[in-house]
Amino acid sequence: MARLHHQLLLFVLALSSPAPLLLPARADASSFPVNVWPKPVSMSWAEPHAAVPVSPSFHILVVSRPENPYLTSAADRYTRLLLQERYRPIVRPAVNLTATTTLEKLVVAVSEPGAPLQHGVDESYTLEIPLTGGAATLRAATAWGAMRGMETFSQLAWRGMSAVAVVAAGVRVEDRPLYPHRGLMLDTGRTFFPVGDILRTVDAMAGNKMNVFHWHITDSQSFPIELPSEPELAAKGAYGEDMRYTVEDVTRVVEFAMSRGVRVVPEIDSPGRPLILCFDGYSIALHLIRPNAMYLHGPAGAYPDAVTCAGKFWLPDGDWNNRLAAEPGAGQLNPLSPKTYKIISNVINDLTSLFPDNLYHAGADEVAPGCWETDPSIKANLANGGTLSQLLERYVRATHPMVTSKNRTAVYWEDVLLDAAVNVSASAIPPATTILQTWNNGSNNTKLVVRAGYRAIVSSASFYYLDCGHGDFLGNDSVYDDPNSDFDARGGSWCGPYKTWQRVYDYDIAYGLTEEEATLVIGGEVAMWTEQVDAGVLDGRVWPRAAAMAEALWSGNRDAAGRKRYAEATDRLFDWRQRMVGRGVRAEPIQPLWCRTRPGMCNAVQ
């Protein structure tokens, strides 16, 4: 589907791009006085660096027809941002301000304004801001590329000493992403996030040129989405009446994201995480729904008979091998229950009509054998020579076509193929209609997935899991009550230590792959599992670490010489985080302010 650039390929592209007209070539050189995050593939800024004031009547003008309403709303939004943003760089940019002229407008020309937002869509753009002000120009193949260009444009503006915004002049940017899938996964099943927090997150993603919001809607703990065909799922499975996403909420999120060039991929995890909450008194879990996978993970509240082991203590005898779930909140959909498939079919119907994206994530991670084994019908099946893998395969073979019949590509967590105990044969998940998302064993599992011929989305926990290293949420755990358990222990987190922005930034998601294999890696997603996160702390947990991935997947993590550029990225990320805070995102700081004003002084190595 998507043609993927290998990093080396990109490197070659960057070198071979035509020298910018009239401007001394400084593409891919070190930082400019004002920078764009993620760093464009190619940017030049005439020296001596100059800036022009933004006219009070500045506006962004889309000249392409037919009109694309999403592009029009983006143009209006960026016009407002240009005039209103109060970002003042910490280190005053050393530029000459051209006082005799102003920038009046940004003219946007798009060659295919009707191209829909979908996987692999062309996001390239070219932006030129003349030294003399007047009109800047932005050219792109699609509306979505134009949005990326407007974001770049907005980041080239700042407030100087005067009250008006100024924008870098004599600039030319030629830009395109390295990977077509640059995502963030947010888990709203363990913790409910109000729509406003989701919108703010999507907005911040667009600022980072990220384009996929992977909405892990449900999990064992709660089922917060109201589905018209299966209203009982949310009625019994949401944390509370005010903790549900209505159809209007979902539409709002999808439209909001669309107007920012962000796709929304739904996941209702199943069968490992029941469709329905393991709810008191009901104890029925449909383990089959993860909106982006085939399984429904979710509370069993509505359909006890379709869910096995719901309402039980997750680790009955303290032995991991006998677990009923990977963590508290047990329940899996029962592949032998016909009702399971009726429900899943309804769920898939509803979700595919709510979410237009051509990817549908069906989950299928962490199937716990013990949970299925509690069910009498499954026990009988196993006693007659059946295997757990056959059960899963039965489920997948029945549900995968439901997804593809809706003209969707099914996404599953890698477990469906790679789990040691419960997995399916490759024939159940044809590579043409299946994408696998990796999370274990770093690049090793990516290699396994692509070698089997599947396209891969990389979310390796040891690089991209934003929840890691924060202890654990289990109660009654005596491990902390040991005076000697500190430096030699993990502090409770299974995937500790904490992944710093550098760790995220430095990850080469195509590491160890042949050039051909690398073309199957469509991109990556940082993942925010929310056992210990809610709206109060969401921003600081996601940002600016997600921004680190955003740059690595947009223009790579290496400089023109092929060396990792994490040192050079530090000050740029510091500034971008500062700008994000000004835009209302409570991103965490990466260093004390002192460091930013003394370049290099806070390095590990000088």
Partner: protein, 547 residues
């Protein structure tokens, strides 16, 4: 959230006196008498009172005309009464699990009456904070009695946490900057603050001290010295050694424990003129009897960067002698002229490279704050006869486990699993860049016995503890979540202990209560981080590791 007409039922309960925490007394080592069998409902107050009784599940409505009365008046108490009256009347905390099967008293609570035996006790170390709160059934008034205004303020907090909303059947001064503007040495902040807008003025300080006092909170200022003083060099370069250098020069000893070098020069007489100005101004701004003078992480290489120091060392002087010179030239002023107890980090006595002799630090006017080696260093300090504040990094440092913040650090750039036998860094068990990893969870903090390994006598020297938030990677945007509710975990341990009546650690039991308290704090505007998914408090014990 709740739109319905607002009943504010109050738990009816009788609280016996809380533990009296006197100056040097740790939480009582003898368990209190066993409480009566608990009613089915839980009273959730954080930190858990030393003793609480609630014979049956009875709530009383809070009258719309509810008021708090105390006579005679006291400035801080007056402020606290106004604050808590407003809070109690406006807070709408919905318990995560709403109470059921309770009796509602017919008589609304109209009045909370405070009686304080001595209004003139100032807020200071060892002040009596005990109180008794009783809310009798079928009486329109509740009573608080306390020995001091400060105990009464604690009681008001407890009372506020007893109020539940809408019960019904519904579902549920470091090196990097010098930001304080001191009248005698304004240039320290003028040249050392990040920006003019990032300075605390004398007026700001007064506001903070007053605000804190109204909640019975003392404010202890610390100006770290002689190390961690790079920020002084903007105004007084001549008194600071090694300022403005790269902190970790290749192939040489580091000049500081982290970026931003600079240390006060003990051999320059001007150093002491500036330090005295600083201390005098601090003492004027902060009334507390304690003043923290830092003295952590003194770096020998930084001093040696100065030619005068090098000559001193060549002539037989030692680094220890340098630090003693500094302490002897500053501490007596602080103690005798300014009438303060000096507080230092443990390094001043236990520093691996530089330390002073005991004689230099008289025990009656010195308190030491410990941070390395857990309970071992506490033991070393108290067995040397010093009073101690415990901040062991492996329990109480809230910044730990959050990776590193240095730039140009290639250690993260490892694509493969770390080989067995090599030191772990990025893989599970590695530090991920944080010197004091892993992250200290609330349980780790809660479980810390700050008296671990001490004799009963030694234990009397432990004044208490402090959680510490070093802010290399925190600012206002993320402050609340980094502090809370983990600081709450220490708060309960230091108030009523971390063990139940049977003497067993009560972390399992505390989980539900801390969840509740965290949600209440969020309602009060503190962006505390969640402990668990909401599913867990809604399903008691189902999220335990061991059922």
């Amino acid at each position: 959230m709740a739109a319905a007409p607002y009943l504010l039922p109050i738990l009816l309960l009788l609280l016996r006196p809380a533990a009296t925490l006197t100056g040097h007394a740790p939480p009582p080592s003898h368990p209190p008498p066993p409480p009566p069998p608990p009613p089915t409902q839980k009273i959730r107050v954080w930190p858990k009172p030393a003793s609480i009784s609630w014979p049956s599940s009875v709530y009383a409505p809070l009258s719309p005309s509810f008021s708090i009365r105390a006579s005679p008046s006291h400035p801080s108490l007056r402020h606290a009464i106004a604050f808590y009256t407003r809070l109690i009347k406006s807070e709408r905390h919905l318990p995560l699990v709403p109470p059921s099967n309770y009796t509602l008293s017919l008589v609304p609570i109209r009045l909370l009456a405070l009686s304080v035996s001595d209004l003139h006790i100032p807020l200071g170390p060892g002040v009596d904070e005990s109180y008794t709160l009783s809310v009798a059934a079928n009486s329109p008034s509740a009573d608080i009695s306390a020995a001091t205004p400060w105990g009464a303020i604690r009681a008001l907090e407890t009372f506020s946490q007893l109020a539940l909303a809408g019960v019904g059947p519904a579902a549920g001064g470091q090196p990097m900057s010098f930001p304080i503007l001191l009248p005698s040495v304004p240039n320290l902040a003028n040249a050392g603050a990040y920006s003019p807008a990032m300075r605390y003025t004398v007026e700001d300080v007064r506001r903070i001290v007053r605000y804190a006092e109204a909640f019975g909170i003392r404010v202890i200022p610390e100006v770290d010295m002689p190390g961690h003083t790079g920020s002084w060099a903007g105004a007084y370069p001549e008194i600071v050694t090694c300022a403005g250098k790269f902190w970790a020069p290749a192939g040489k000893p580091a000049l500081a424990s982290e970026p931003c070098t600079g240390q006060l020069n003990p051999l320059n007489p001007k150093t002491y003129r500036v330090v005295q100005d600083v201390l005098r101004d601090l003492a004027a701004a902060f009334p507390d009897p304690y003043l923290h003078a830092g003295a952590d992480e003194v770096n020998t290489a930084c001093w040696e960067d100065d030619p005068v120091v090098r000559r001193f060392l060549k002539d037989g002087g030692t680094h220890d002698r340098l630090l003693e010179l500094f302490v002897n030239a500053t501490r007596p002023f602080l103690v005798h002229e300014l009438n303060r107890t000096s507080v230092y980090w443990e390094d001043v006595l236990l520093g691996p490279k530089v330390s002073v002799r005991h004689e230099v630090l008289p025990r009656d006017t010195t308190v030491l704050q410990t941070w390395n080696n857990g309970a071992d260093n506490t033991k070393r300090l108290v067995s040397a006869g010093y009073r101690v504040v415990v901040s062991s990094a492996s329990y109480y440092y809230l910044d730990c486990g959050h990776g590193g913040w240095l730039g140009n650090d290639s250690r993260y750039d490892k694509q493969e699993k770390e080989q067995e036998g090599t030191p772990l860094f990025n893989d599970p068990g590695g530090t991920g860049g944080s010197w004091c990893a892993p992250f200290k969870t609330w349980q780790r903090i809660y479980d810390y016995d700050i008296l671990h390994g001490l004799t009963e006598d030694e234990a009397t020297l432990v004044l208490g503890g402090e959680v510490a938030l070093w802010s290399e990677q925190s600012d206002a945007a993320v402050l609340d979540g980094r502090l809370w509710p983990r600081a709450s975990a220490a708060a309960e341990t230091l108030w009523s202990g971390n063990k139940g009546a049977s003497g067993r650690k009560r972390y399992a039991n505390a989980t539900g209560r801390l969840n509740e308290w965290r949600y209440r704090m969020v309602g009060r505007g503190i962006r505390a981080e969640p402990l668990q998914p909401l599913w867990c408090p809604l399903h008691p014990r189902m999220c335990n590791l061991a059922q």
